[in-house]
């Protein structure tokens, strides 16, 4: 499964603008699975171990 990179950019930028680095809405969460694949929170099942990515800017 691939990720929509345009949606990824828009989601991260919107969350940065809102100051919400760890949103609770799965549609706005960005996660990484064990193999390093980037996904949205609403694309993964509960039994799949993933890491939520803090979405603050990459440098202050």
């Amino acid at each position: 499964m691939s990720i929509d990179l345009n949606r990824l950019r828009e989601t991260i930028r919107q969350n940065q603008t809102a100051g919400d680095a760890t949103p609770t809405d799965p549609r706005r969460q960005v996660v990484v699975d064990k193999e390093g694949n980037v996904r949205f929170g609403d694309q993964v099942s509960g039994d799949q171990p993933v890491t939520q990515v803090p979405q603050e800017t990459f440098a202050s």
Binding site: L5, I12, K34, P49, T51, Q52, E56, F58, A59, S60
Partner: protein, 141 residues
Amino acid sequence: MTLEDSPRDARDRRIAKERLPSSTRKGRVGGRLNFVFIKQTQMGIPFEITLYYDPDEDGYLAQLISPEIERDWRNPHIGHIFEDGVICVGGAKGRASPDLLTAFSKSCVWAEGIAIMIASRNAGRPTEFPFSDNNHPGEVG
């Protein structure tokens, strides 16, 4: 766990086994435990990245091994990578993440972003780093 492992090392080995790519290589460089993994990006460009705890920076660093990033992009507000190859995974701290998995996950997103920059430049349509809203103006190139 090995005889050299500190409690932190033992914990990180356990986390790495459970949560980092199965092909991750583990080893010591200068006494420091490193986790080296390959991140495949959607643009088809693979990245080799090492993760380690640096006590001097009080956190976990993600350092790019390959590919080479062009010099002009090695800037925290352009390619979001420092001159020494450390990726800006630390949020407000810049370089260091509070834990191994944050460094891993942010470096994967960074790789997707810099891969877009590389692919766009190669296609003659340079673009800024797509996943951070603090890029310097006029950075595209």
